[in-house]
Amino acid sequence: MTVPSTVSANRLTSHRAIVWPRLRSAGLAACAFCVGIGFLTAGIPANLTTASARTADAERGRALYDQCKRCHQVGSGARHRIGPQLNDLFGRPAGSLDDYRYSRAMRAAGSGGLVWTETALDAFLQDPAGVVPKSRMSFGGLAERDDRADLLAWLRGFSGDRSGLPPAEPTFTPEEFGIDPRVLEIRGDPEYGAYLAGECTTCHHATGTDQGIPSISGWPADDFVIAMHAYKLGKRVHPVMQLVAGRLSDEEIAALAAHFFSTDDEP
């Protein structure tokens, strides 16, 4: 057998081998979004794998939250990004924030009585697609009970008393990928974007079911632009996406971002 011969294989393998040995059987268990960004390796304590009956460790949960932070903001000033902001999550009915465009599935789950209690969140984090099928959250789940407990312990700190919260971290910054921030100021032509988007929707399902390829409908334009430039620069690794992004001009990326921000393809 030959040695893995692509950058992407090496990176993926090393992530999983070092960081998530217990998740191997879960395949794409880690956030599909983070895979290939080279993100999971940063800042996670080395003692992650010790697990037994114990009190939840919020500090460890903070490190686990790194898997969530490309899509969600939490903390003072948190805004909706690809996913909704997570302040005051505990006790909130699913799909209930007026100013976030949820999937139809998530809205229906909320109407059906799903409330984000500790128990409900634990079940959802274990198997997102099982608890809310066809939600847009592109995350395979956390298999380990302790991981979920720790993550929830940390998130719980952002529910209830809102004073003294740490500021929300940005989901993406151009600087971390070495991207010229001026690309964020380009106003894209949505009509051109709609045509170019034909290349995307062959793979990215308009309704964004989480089946190996994430939804890109309704993404904030800045996050879309940074993600695409990161692929284009090879700072984010995925052969199809690098191919697609590699031939897009700055204006075309902006046009696609404008288009996908405006799409909410679920009637």
Binding site: M1, T2, V3, P4, S5, T6, S8, A9, L12, T13, R16, R24, G27, L28, V35, E191, Y192, A194, Y195, L196, G198, E199, T201, T202, C203, H204, H205, A206, T207, T209, Q211, G212, I213, P239, V240, Q242, L243, V244, G246, R247
Partner: protein
């Protein structure tokens, strides 16, 4: 098709009434119908369904779109190998045309297109009616070249299935594989270039091996191949070694793979004069454009329809566009993904010609995923641009041997996401 009248104008109106009753979402008032430009699409696969949907959707009802497709349920060739391998059920590769009519006001006509009057710009239907067009899009897929495998013709397809147009043939081949005697022989006669889905025969070999390894592990798989090499060859051969060692033998042209005859009655394959008895014989003959392209007299000597890369217009008739497998366009493989990609360029060009919508530069892409074994997916892909001469490859990638199990599993899961997405892109 008794709702089709010989008068094209009247027939269109009756279609509109039919669709209007079926949907409340039809956006254009029917009084405008008489003046709307007409697009007729022949063939409801990855090219035809996509172009019909995009022209109707993006024109907001300003273009009258009719889709002619004989079958009421479409079974996709892509992922049909996964049905043979037991990874998908049959229903999961079937799709209906109902949403195209209901959501976009497309007139879906279940009939065969049997003639094209290029001067009069109308298409004749087997049911007796005709459809007038301003632009005609032909996306008929493939037909088989008669005589390419001596001893085989369509009358032999029940004994020796091709299973290269998905549907009952796919079910038949799977049933024959399941019924093989212990230690029996499955033989594939692989096609010469160019043909639909270059990795398709070899993904099928993988899927057949996957099934036999579980149910009939002493069975043998024989590939008789006229080609020196094939798509993703290194990846497939590496996978066969890892998963199905000793089961698969390939006879290339050096050993007579280009000199084969079949005897369906006796279930014999004659390779370079040597007779071999087999239990299942999957004959995938040489191919050419679906018949309506030849009837329209837009094909070349090789049997394919040359097109202008920027618009997918036939080189022989600017009022006809050709998509997908049937077209001769240059570097793109004949694949569902390619046809879908070409259809979006075509839809933009057609709308630009018939309405005042903007026209942007053509660009194309393709990715082909193949499954070798459980959670062992590979892919190859490329991007393309239109030049005056051909659709030309600009960049590409391919999976590597030695990738980790995680990468291969992620690639397979990606292919499932793609299948769901392209199905929605064609039919929703």
């Amino acid at each position: 098709m008794n709702q089709i009248n010989k008068n094209p104008g009247l027939s269109r109106r009756s279609f509109l009434v039919t669709t209007a009753m079926a949907t409340s979402a039809l956006s254009a008032p029917s009084v405008l119908a008489e003046n709307r430009p007409r697009v007729v699409v022949v063939g409801g696969g990855a090219g035809g369904a996509t172009v019909a949907r995009y022209v109707a959707k993006d024109s907001g009802g300003a273009v009258d779109v009719t889709l002619v497709e004989p079958t009421r349920a479409y079974y996709s060739c892509f992922f049909s190998n996964l049905f043979i391998g037991g990874f998908r059920d049959y229903a999961s590769i079937g799709h209906s045309y109902g949403d195209l009519a209901a959501n976009h006001g497309i007139n879906v006509v279940h009939d065969w297109a049997v003639s094209v009057d290029r001067d009069g710009r109308s298409v004749g239907l087997a049911g007796g009616g005709s459809l007038a067009y301003d632009r005609l899009v032909l996306s008929p897929g493939i037909d088989f070249r008669s005589g390419s495998v001596p001893g085989w013709d369509l009358s032999a397809q029940n004994r020796m299935p091709h299973a290269y147009k998905a549907g009952s043939q796919t079910q038949l081949l799977r049933a024959q594989i399941e019924a093989m005697p212990e230690g029996g022989v499955y033989c594939m006669v692989a096609p010469p270039n160019p043909f639909r889905c270059p990795p398709g025969p070899y993904e099928r070999i993988s899927m057949v091996a996957h099934v036999l390894k579980q149910t009939n592990p002493t069975a043998k798989i024989l590939i008789v191949d006229p080609k020196e090499k094939f798509s993703k060859q290194g990846l497939f051969e590496d996978g066969w070694q890892r998963h199905y060692s000793g089961m698969i033998e390939r006879i290339g042209p050096d050993f007579g793979g280009d000199s084969v005859e079949v005897r369906p009655e006796a279930m014999e394959v004659v390779i370079d004069g040597e007779v071999t008895k087999v239990d299942v014989c999957n004959v995938i003959p040489a191919q050419q454009a679906g018949r309506i392209a030849a009837i329209a007299e837009i094909t070349n000597d090789a049997g394919w329809a040359p097109v202008v890369p920027h618009t997918m217009q036939s080189r022989a008739d600017e009022n006809i566009h050709v998509l997908g497998d049937a077209s001769q366009q240059g570097d793109m493989p004949k694949s569902g993904f390619s046809a879908n990609s070409q259809a979006k360029v075509c839809a933009m060009a057609v709308r630009g010609a018939l309405t005042d919508s903007k026209v942007f530069p053509a660009r194309f892409s393709n990715t082909c995923w193949s499954l070798i074994g459980t959670d062992d997916g590979v892919k190859v892909g490329a991007s393309y641009e239109a030049t005056d001469e051909k659709i030309a490859k600009t960049d590409g990638f391919i999976s590597q041997t030695g990738e980790s199990a995680e990468v291969r599993k992620a690639t397979y899961e990606e292919s499932i996401g793609w299948y769901e997405a392209i199905s929605a892109d064609m039919f929703s």
